[in-house]
């Protein structure tokens, strides 16, 4: 009897597994219906195999624990909405790594994530490849930041971290000056309090005046006047989310949380010239960063 129960359970599991693999239903929940998220969704659906059913909710607020096999949320708002509403498995894509711990405490049931930010190691690699002679890396921040981790990664190349916490609401200029005085390069961190459309002007002008280039976190920074940036596009993250989905379809398990696998760089050549910097073509830089990532891992 016990044997029969076991066999039955096995057949059931097998059937479930097959059903899982063949008819996985994925529900994507976007934080918003702006092109940023829609591009992600488009890229995701284009790369998805046909045996996975794909449904889309364009506004996080419209998610009300609809039944599905796997939920892929895009952005922080969607991730929180899903985490609050359901215990169904969640792949939180395109979220900053530091939001994950919080999200995890909130979420009942399986959860994993694809981060939006680049690991510190990769940033250190970029700095080393593009600006090998600039050893003092300045960082200004207002939210919490894993300073020891940054310091560790930079130390690999004998780079020093000059980190300053914003001391008050309207002290940006003074705090920035304090960082710039001691730095050879300013490394931007995603921090709206410091880097926003209003402040970017003074940050870029002040650093340029002192002959200090800014390394940004997106292509927009580079267009504005940052020297370079390493980042992942929504399309690249979507491809990674597809692989995670396929893994789930095959194994029924979510992969471990991941930093972006694919990434791009952008270099503002006009700014580089103005700083008198000789910088290799984008492809050559990417190749070197990949090599370093390999050898250092």
């Amino acid at each position: 009897m016990a044997q029969a129960k076991k066999i039955l359970a096995f057949v059931f599991l097998l059937l479930c597994g097959i059903a899982h693999a063949k008819e996985l239903r994925v529900l994507m929940v976007l934080s918003d219906s702006t092109p940023l998220y829609l591009n992600f969704a488009k890229s995701f659906s284009q790369n998805l195999s046909t045996d996975i059913r794909f449904d889309l909710i364009q506004h996080a607020e419209d998610f009300n624990a609809q039944k599905t096999d796997l939920i892929v949320s895009v952005g922080v708002r969607a991730a929180y909405r899903v985490a609050e509403k359901t215990s169904q498995p969640l792949l939180a894509a395109m979220i900053p790594s530091k939001t994950y711990a919080d999200l995890r405490t909130l979420k009942q049931g399986a959860i994993s994530a694809i981060y939006l930010d680049q690991p510190w190691r990769r940033q250190a690699n970029l700095l080393h490849v593009v600006l090998p002679e600039r050893k003092r890396i300045g960082v200004l921040y207002s939210a919490s930041l894993d300073i020891p981790a940054m310091r560790r990664e930079l130390a690999l190349y004998h780079d020093t971290l000059i980190a300053r916490h914003l001391s008050g609401g309207d002290t940006l200029s003074a705090d920035l000056d304090d960082v710039l005085v001691e730095s050879d390069v300013l490394l931007a961190v995603p921090d709206n309090e410091i880097y926003n459309a209003n402040s970017i002007r003074n940050i870029l002008l002040s650093s340029y005046r002192r002959g200090i280039p800014l390394v940004g976190v997106s292509e927009a920074y580079v267009r504005a006047g940052a020297l370079c940036a390493i980042f992942s596009t929504p399309e690249q993250l979507a491809v990674q989310a597809v692989s995670a989905t396929i893994t789930y379809a095959r194994t029924g398990k979510l992969p471990e949380v991941q930093f972006p696998v694919q990434y791009s760089i952008a270099v503002n050549r006009t700014v580089a010239r103005a700083f008198g910097l000789v910088i290799e073509p984008d492809d050559a830089i990417l190749l070197q960063i990949r090599k370093l990532s390999g050898s250092l891992r």
């Binding site: 940023l36 919080d102 002008l205 997106s218």
Partner: protein, 689 residues
């Protein structure tokens, strides 16, 4: 039930917290373009000319109080003063007190003024502290900067409106009546930044020469009145304002205005008959004050276009009113205070420019400009029953185009030309071609050829026959109607090397400049004529070395020589073209210091101290339009600056600096033998908050 509500509340808190915290919008937010083409300076290795950049760090370390003195840090630049209050800045040696062959710009606004076509350095409505950096193009750059850029361009870039957020007060006190007070304010806003400066600067110019320098007898120096002949104090009261309105990421508006009220001691005491001498000389320029009111307004608009293109429009109005009232001595007779002269000059300039990247490797800059120069002067000399007034308006139109083409990664071609048309009926085209070859990414060779013209100034076309006092007031009639522009053809080879392993850079330049149609005052025609020709050759070098980020040195060196047809002209009766130098019969050759050098060493010390020292050397020379007595001997000078920053209270920082000029007291005279420079020192105290 209660706990459930709490949990929901807590969830809401968490969600709320997360939304305030970092999210993907921090990564994907959009920004305006800040560092656009016009904001960025061209790297030296891509420039079509040799260029020297004097940045804020060097400005501070030099210890200089005047803008003209900063030019001592440029290889081959001659800096002196006609009177202690009237700086002369000239490249390739001296011409006369009105150095006319250089373009000087402040934020793109040209400040060489009619009628003499020279720069009144003492009247500029900015202080040394208002300057962000100075870019000096060594060699003609008329293709980009138009008439007057025949020998070089000094481009002064003032601090951005947003460069300062706070207040600063400084006080300087020292020898020779040095007494400066300056207050500066600045505020950065989301859409509007501004800064302003209020300043008073004063000094007593040169030292008073009381005994003849070595080798001269008392009689030799007494006869031409070179002793006790230093009335050259200067007091300037100035104000300037700069605002930057940037309502969106696309448009930028620059608003500037300023004012300078300047009182200069001018004139000479020689030939003044007094109770103790019955000398029957004439002195039309005894000690008196020259009063000057200068102001300007500048409005600029820059629009950021697609693909890095940029459209800009700039309008400026510059005005200067000068006046003097002086007594004269005519053949031993003293006429108290009857001569009154005044001069009103102005310039209105409008320029439109389009920067257009054609491809990733080709960038075109083109535009047009229109300029109106006005000068009106009055002179009343009752003793000789002479009264006149003159008034001139000159229009000038310019079209320019400049293409920067990276033919291959190693080759950069700069091609450009300026077309100018003026009211004198002249049409000039000033082309330039320069090819930069990046031998390696850090080693660049540059070859360039350019043509530049200098439009005759009003004072040259309408030279005043009788000219008392310090002002030059054009004559009522154009007395040199056929005067042609001077032409300069320049060839140069340059090398720029960066040596990161030695933390050094090297900048070398070899040049040959040929001057034709040179304008000089004819002794026979009593007016300015064309006819001087000359050739300048030289080598310039600038080396920078950084021992460590807090410890660096810059060394500049220039070797130059020139030859002209001065001997021939002098033999033909042109006495002004005869050299006064017994060792060199060529007036042009004698007027150039053969060797000149400068060194600036900067060191940041512990405990917030900083130290800098500068050394200057200039070989002997004969100023172009001066007599043999004014022969300028070798000049050696060492300056030192020691400073310390300190915290007054939280948020209030102070800075105290001691500057000693000519530390070793190697007294020298320059331009005019009565211009004596001894050791002098001053202390500068600044408080920022």
């Amino acid at each position: 039930m209660k706990s459930k509500y709490l949990a929901i509340l807590c969830l809401a808190c968490k969600a709320g917290h997360a939304a305030d915290d970092v999210n993907e919008s921090d990564y994907f937010q959009d920004f305006p373009v800040v560092l656009s083409s016009s904001r960025l300076s061209q790297p030296l290795s891509d420039a079509p000319n040799a260029m020297t950049v004097i940045d804020r760090k060097m400005i501070v370390a030099s210890g200089f109080r005047t803008i003209a003195d900063l030019m001592k840090l440029v290889p081959g630049m001659y800096v002196s003063y006609y009177k202690g209050s009237q700086p002369i800045v000239a490249y390739h040696g001296t011409t006369d007190e009105f150095s006319r062959r250089m373009q000087v710009l402040i934020d793109g606004r040209s400040v060489y003024m009619p009628p003499t076509g020279s720069v009144n350095w003492a009247d500029l409505p900015i202080t040394v502290d208002d300057i962000e950096r100075i870019e000096v193009i060594r060699g003609p750059a008329a293709a980009s900067y138009g008439a007057n850029s025949t020998q070089g361009v000094i481009s002064i870039i003032t601090r951005d409106a947003g460069a300062m957020d706070g207040k600063s007060v400084s006080y300087t006190r020292g020898d020779k009546g040095i007494n400066d007070v300056e207050a500066r304010f600045g505020k950065r806003g989301d859409a509007y930044d501004y800064r302003m400066t209020l300043a008073y600067t004063a000094d007593n110019g040169y030292d008073n020469l009381t005994t003849p320098p070595n080798g001269y007898t008392l009689a030799t120096f007494k006869a031409p009145g070179l002793l006790n002949n230093s009335n050259d104090s200067n007091q300037a009261r100035l104000f300037n304002y700069r605002g930057d309105y940037h309502p969106n990421g696309i448009d930028r508006y620059d608003i500037q205005f300023g004012f300078n009220h300047d009182v200069q001691g001018v004139g000479f005491s020689d030939k003044n008959p007094g109770p103790s001498n019955s000398y029957l000389g004439t002195n039309g320029d005894p000690f008196h004050n020259l009063i000057s009111n200068s102001d300007f307004v500048q409005l600029g608009w820059v629009r950021q276009l697609e693909q890095g293109a940029e459209l800009s429009l700039r309008y400026s109005h510059t005005r200067q009113d000068q006046s003097e009232a002086l007594p004269v001595y005519l053949v031993g007779v003293y006429y108290p205070g009857p001569v009154v002269q005044s001069l009103q000059t102005s310039r209105d300039e409008i320029e439109v420019q389009h920067i257009l990247p054609l491809t990733d490797t080709n960038r075109l800059v083109y535009g047009a400009a229109y300029q109106i120069d006005r000068a009106g002067g009055q002179s009343a000399m009752p003793p000789i029953s002479l009264y006149y007034s003159s008034s001139y308006v000159y229009n000038e139109y310019r079209l320019f185009a400049h293409d920067e083409w990276r033919i291959a990664p190693k080759w950069l071609l700069n091609l450009g030309s300026m077309f100018e048309k003026n009211d004198l009926g002249q049409f000039n085209s000033s082309p330039r071609i320069a090819l930069n070859y990046h031998v390696t990414p850090k080693q660049t060779l540059r070859m360039g050829v350019s043509v530049a013209y200098r439009t005759p100034s009003m004072a040259e076309t309408s030279y005043p026959m009788i000219q008392p006092g310090a002002l030059i007031i054009p004559a009522q009639t154009v007395n040199s109607p056929g005067l042609q522009p001077e032409k300069l053809v320049s060839h140069e080879i340059g090398y720029l090397g960066e040596f990161p392993d030695w933390a050094s850079t090297v900048d070398l330049r070899l040049y040959r400049d040929q001057l034709s149609n040179g304008i000089y005052p004819s002794s026979t025609a009593k007016s300015f004529v064309n006819g001087m020709s000359g050739e300048y050759h030289g080598l310039e070098a600038a080396v920078k070395h950084e021992f460590d980020p807090d410890n660096s040195v810059t060394v500049n060196f220039a070797h130059a020589w020139a030859a002209s047809n001065g001997v021939l002209l002098a033999a033909g009766g042109q006495k002004v073209m005869a050299s006064s130098d017994p060792l060199n019969s060529d007036i042009l050759g004698a007027s150039i210091p053969q060797n000149s050098a400068s060194l600036l060493y900067m060191l940041r010390l512990p405990l917030d101290y900083s130290f800098s020292t500068a050394a200057y050397y200039q070989s002997a020379m004969q100023p172009f339009d001066r007599g043999a007595i004014d022969y300028q001997p070798i000049q050696r000078r060492v300056d030192v600056r020691i400073a310390r920053t300190f915290n007054v209270t939280a948020g209030v920082k102070g800075d105290v600096a001691l500057v000693l000029q000519n530390l070793l007291n190697q007294a020298y005279t320059e331009y005019i033998a009565s211009n004596l420079f001894n050791r002098r020192g001053y202390v500068m105290l600044t408080v920022n908050w």
